[in-house]
Symmetry: C2
Subunit: 192 residues, 2 copies
């Protein structure tokens, strides 16, 4: 069985989106990758709408088991952090409307999962993502590579019960990630 994860690196100017299928032996295959950009000349409501519509299309097309979103940090540039948080809210609700579990991962969790070090730079992440997914060329822009890295991170951490939206909010029981694995396994058992 495979787990399909749609990773999103949220942002108003650029939202990276990546879809990855991960087998239980951790082998990962890229399904799709892309970036949704919005112009700063548009009003905020129109920018968020473009992002919402794009995420809707990706969710409908790829029907992921889980959506992994980069956790927004307040340490970011003050002028951009609000837009990133607003975009992430839009992405999270799009998944929630479809009953798809959402997990949040910090940038350092992603770096640690993909490169082995939480302090690696973006180039190292892109390089490893390219290698892990056996791609001919590095995904560009960096937001696209980050979205794929998020998806990989989520799948690999899924069993650990850490870093999910559930754990972050103190809910008991299965994390969304664990539940996704359990659901996906149950579905696979029914099919075969």
């Amino acid at each position: 069985m495979t787990l399909r994860v749609l990773g999103v690196d949220p942002g108003l100017t650029r939202c990276g989106i990546g879809v990855v299928d991960i087998e239980k032996n951790r082998r990962a295959t890229m399904v799709a990758v892309g970036v949704v950009g919005t112009s700063a000349e548009l009003t905020l409501d129109k920018r968020l709408l473009v992002i919402a519509q794009a995420i809707d299309e990706w969710l409908d097309l790829h029907t992921p088991d889980v959506v992994a979103v980069e956790r927004v940090f307040s340490q970011m540039n003050v002028s951009t952090v609000m837009g990133v948080a607003q975009a992430s809210g839009v992405v999270i609700v799009a998944a929630a409307r479809r009953g798809i579990p959402v997990a949040l991962h910090t940038p350092s969790e992603v770096k640690a999962a993909v490169t082995g070090s939480g302090t690696s730079n973006k180039d190292a992440v892109t390089k490893l993502v390219t290698k892990i997914l056996r791609l001919d060329a590095p995904p560009k822009p960096a937001d696209a590579a980050d979205a794929l890295a998020l998806a990989l991170t989520h799948a690999w951490r899924a069993g650990s019960g850490m870093g999910s939206a559930g754990a972050a909010n103190g809910s008991g029981g299965l994390t969304p990630a664990q539940k996704a694995w359990a659901d996906a396994e149950a579905k696979a058992r029914r099919k075969r």
Copy 2:
């Protein structure tokens, strides 16, 4: 003709929502007021979904001409600002999906519009909102009064071309507020 404004004071724990009809002579009448609360025991995706569904219901029921949302500030408490921004993103997209213009106003703009001073306290805002809308008792909790104050602020500032999502993002032409007035006026002319 009247302008119907739905004001939202966004937040994860409590979202204040207020609907006000404002005549061109500035006389305002409350249509509805409420609060949507979500439990911190829910995961983030479920909390945002509850807010999204509530906003959808309010928009469908009251069909406002404009939605006015409190502009999120990074000066807020770091642990709450992300949730507020995510909730505001969800609210803004709900309006944008329906083609309803969205305007953003800062807390000090609201205080100035309602009480005449940008540094008034919350009690003063609640007191004036109660008086302006000829209510028998102050709307509670404060988030509900704030949502009504936002709606009033928006309607009264609508002609000034300031404080809207459009102006804040540097778009030319009419602000969403101005457009709403123009559209509402055109609609009223067609009807009568």
